[in-house]
Amino acid sequence: MTKDKLSGLQDLALKVREHIIEMTAGGGCFIGASLSCVELMVYLYAEYLNIDSSNLQHPERDYLFLSKGHDVPALYGTLAELGFIEKARLKQHLLASDSIYWHPNRAIPGVEFHSGSLGHLPAVAAGVAMDCKLKGLQNRVVVITGDGELNEGSVWESLLVANAYGLNNLTILVDRNQFQANIRTEELIPLEPLVDKFTAFGCAVKRINGHDFDALEEAFLGIPFTSDRVNVIIADTVRGKGLPSIEARADRWFCAFSATEISQLLEELHGNKEARIESESLIVR
């Protein structure tokens, strides 16, 4: 990846993180899971996927399904930066007069499908991938799942079926930020060895650093990995990435911050001193 391209993607990721931090105002959002997948979202929309605000009705465009749901501020931040929606709408987060809430809503341009109930979109995306195959089209279909989401049996069920039908136009991108909602995955329902599990279910698997744009590009440019298997990319990430004061903390899952905290967090994001967080985290969502 050229230096200019890398720097453009990094700038975009920074702006998306700013949006996420600002969306902790007015009721809060799932900040931890949103910050962990920023590079995934930015790379996919800005580089890999053939999706833009003008081709949403085109039958041969690509698809990104957000199965883990909680990370929707990262998607909305990306969509706002790329012109799918007005940036001003992000401030209307949680107003009943707008359609932006805590989970993806397909009424928002660029959101392919609603989610929030975990373990649904691998199957929905497999249906989309199946239709593209039936029509002999080259659309690429990507699903971002959480790692906690992999507790759901329906994820594995859908992989069995998608592999049986050779859906190599389907890619599962796992945001492996090591956390369920409130606890580390390995302390609750251990997932490792995760590469082996996906491989055993018939998938072609790569594991990368999910904050490294070069690694993302190398992995995605290799898709399809095989002629007949679902592609899985396990992206190792850090919950709360970009804000050392909240990174990898179990209690920074859903957060509603004060205006002062938000301005301190924005400073922290840009490399200045760490924010002093006094608001209690809400872990009841």
Binding site: P59, R106, E112, F113, H114, S117, H120, L121, P122, A123, V124, A125, A126, G127, V128, A129, M130, D131, C132, L134, S154, E157, S158, L160, V161, A164, Y165
Partner: protein, 300 residues
């Protein structure tokens, strides 16, 4: 013509149709050869089948999906409600062996709450054909509708020749001043015989085949309530949430005081056995129905 032939004809004439099954091929055995890759068997995966159907529908397809009614409506319920319901996609759900039709399978296979749970989903239509003739008259409308729909599949041959299907309308078999039996699905046949038995006793008996429970023909129900001394709701379904509940809701909405006698399953699964045994044991033969209705009439 049977269900499979009608579906095949429909699918072959319109590329949008995809026939799916969660490895329940009873109704669609010839499809793999005749429909090619527009037949998709997902294996024993009701949830994945529904999720994929939603994805296919997002791309403009009309998936007609098949599974045993209890596994389709309950194992995959949240997928139906969330992926099909919230998105309001035209996925057509064919539930096999609902109600008493699961005969000897036992309670795991008894879909006797399917009407109740499917009708709670906003926008979901619920169809309950009385027999194969009724089914074949109804299905073209079900499949052509842009709405999501659940069909309580009943492909048993009956003796009655039904009227052409009129969407949203019940089939009025007869009107009666003493009693009107409101029925849907498989028990229609027993209701038809029970009607004759009651008429032999000199009673004026109405019989209405509801056909669809959502939308339901409110006018037909109110008209029967106005005319008849007693309404009977007859169903191979739990009393909660099925036709008795629907009729109660309608009468309450219309501030209508009417005597309604429910014949349904109450707070238990039915005794498994051959279909004739089930009807006998559970008291849903035409004779048993007529006797219970006579007793009820005498009590009022």
């Amino acid at each position: 013509m049977n269900y499979e032939e009608l579906l095949l004809q429909t699918a072959l004439s319109d590329e949008r149709y995809i026939v799916m099954t969660a490895e329940n091929r009873a109704l669609v055995r010839s499809m793999p050869q005749k429909l090619g890759n527009r037949f998709i068997d997902t294996g024993i995966t009701e949830q994945t089948m529904i999720g994929m159907a939603a994805g296919l529908a997002l791309r403009g397809r009309i998936p007609v999906v098949h599974a045993l009614a209890p596994f389709l409506t309950m194992r995959a319920f949240e997928f139906i409600r969330t992926d099909v319901g919230i998105a309001h996609l035209p996925v057509k759900l064919s539930g096999f062996i609902p109600g008493f039709l699961s005969d000897g399978n036992g309670p795991t296979h008894q879909a006797i709450e399917d009407v109740s749970i499917m009708r709670t989903i906003p926008g979901m239509e619920v169809y309950c054909p009385a027999d194969e003739d009724d089914l074949l008259r109804m299905m073209p409308f079900v499949w052509q509708s842009p709405e999501p729909a659940y069909v309580r599949i009943n492909h048993k041959k009956g003796s009655y020749t039904h009227a052409p299907y009129d969407p949203g309308k019940a089939e009025i078999i007869s009107r009666g001043d003493d009693i009107t039996i409101l029925v849907y699905g498989f028990l229609f046949e027993q209701a038809l015989i029970a009607k004759s038995l009651l008429e032999e006793k000199g009673l004026s008996v109405g019989l209405i085949n509801l056909r669809s429970l959502k939308p339901v023909d409110t006018d037909a129900i109110i008209q029967a309530a106005n005319q008849s001394h007693l309404l009977v709701t007859l169903e191979d379904h739990l009393q909660t949430g099925g036709l008795y509940s629907i009729v109660a809701e309608i009468l309450l909405q219309h501030k209508h005081r009417s005597r309604v006698f429910p014949l349904a399953l109450t707070e238990r699964w039915f005794r498994p056995g051959l279909l004739s045994e089930v009807l006998e044991y559970e008291g849903f033969t035409a004779n048993a129905i007529a006797e219970k209705v006579m007793l009820q009439l005498q009590m009022i």
